[in-house]
Subunit: 188 residues, 2 copies
DNA sequence: CAGTTATTTCAGAAATTACCGAAATTTAGT
DNA sequence: ACTAAATTTCGGTAATTTCTGAAATAACTG
């Protein structure tokens, strides 16, 4: 069995998990193989080499190289050196909250910030005479909403994982705090 | 000018806005034309017909039909009847918070829920003997994290737009509330 | 219900994206 | 520096997605 010298044995659950991430990949804006690669790395206790990824998932070595490049661009990998071995081995952060944080930061950079700055430009420049005031007002609405969410998300990024967990568990109980704030600061 | 009988005149800012949404479309998981269509509808004061969309954006009528179908599937459109006119006219909700809410709900349905239920399955079934315990623990971590976020998001969905705005403006001041909660409920 | 107008469906063309193998480059050990 | 192992780059093909025009269907009018 020449082929499986590097391949990892996968139980059914792991298999399903990887397969699912592959299929969802397109909806998440990553491609199938990158999704599978990351899924495998997430559930693998040991760090894996590019060869292991390729053979386990039946991908070409070059495709795996591309995938690693992509995942690295997203800051989603950790590389683990192994003494007496020239290969590089990859893992994911062990704290899933860290992964989530990274994902949010990177998604924001790619998918939100450009739009935000485009809108800012539209609003800042003294718009030429013919510019639709209605369009500008809609753009302002969108801009302000997104900016609010982004700023909030920034503040959340600074919190500890445990703190975040706490906060999210509070859920709509926070509403009560707002009630209070509301009463105290009510104008009139 | 046979062509422009339905086309809408667009100033530079509007043009740029639409163009940008087209380009970002792919990153957002929608295609260029659907992105442009929605952008145009967002900044158009009047509701627009499918023909107006097609001619303004230089798309085929059939493509616009597909796009409308898609946007409808996302619950992002309002149709406006016009007396004495058989065409249907489309707009977007005026409250951008409502749009955001819808977007979040639909993204969740398509991109999160399937994964959540896949993971739930993996965790529920008495997993076959050979199943990696490590894999299961990672899946549980991911599942719990995502479930927490989703539950929280559900609660947020029920709040009024003004309330939400308030909450997000609070930002990390909420942290102070947590400090308090922390001190009060601290287990010895 | 015959004639229009509006809308949708669908097969295939066009464009984009994903993937592979071969060649090139980099890295590390001797 | 030389060699061999590891990794990356790149041209081209395969697969997928987007978009169109033609035809079908539906909705309305007189």
């Amino acid at each position: 069995m020449q082929d499986s010298e590097n391949a990892i044995e996968l139980d059914d659950v792991s298999q399903a998990f990887i397969q699912h991430f592959g299929e969802m990949g397109s909806r998440w804006g990553i491609n199938r193989t990158v999704g599978q690669m990351y899924a495998l790395l997430v559930i693998s206790e040991q760090p894996l080499s590019a060869d292991q990824l390729a053979e386990t998932l039946h991908l070409s070595r070059s495709n795996v190289s591309m995938g690693i490049k992509e995942l690295n661009a997203w800051n989603l990998l950790r590389t683990v050196p192994r003494s007496g071995d020239r290969k590089t081995y990859f893992t994911t952060p062990e704290d899933v909250w860290e992964i989530a944080r990274t994902l949010i930061a990177e998604k924001r950079k790619r998918e939100i910030d450009p739009t935000l700055s485009m809108m800012r430009n539209a609003l800042m420049g003294e718009s030429a005479p013919g510019t639709s005031q209605y369009a500008l007002s809609r753009i302002r609405d969108m801009h302000d909403l997104i900016e609010l969410l982004v700023d909030w998300s920034d503040e959340m990024q600074t919190l500890q994982s445990t703190r975040l967990k706490q906060l999210f568990k509070l859920g709509s109980s926070v509403n009560k705090v707002l009630d209070l704030t509301d009463k105290v600061t009510r104008k009139k």
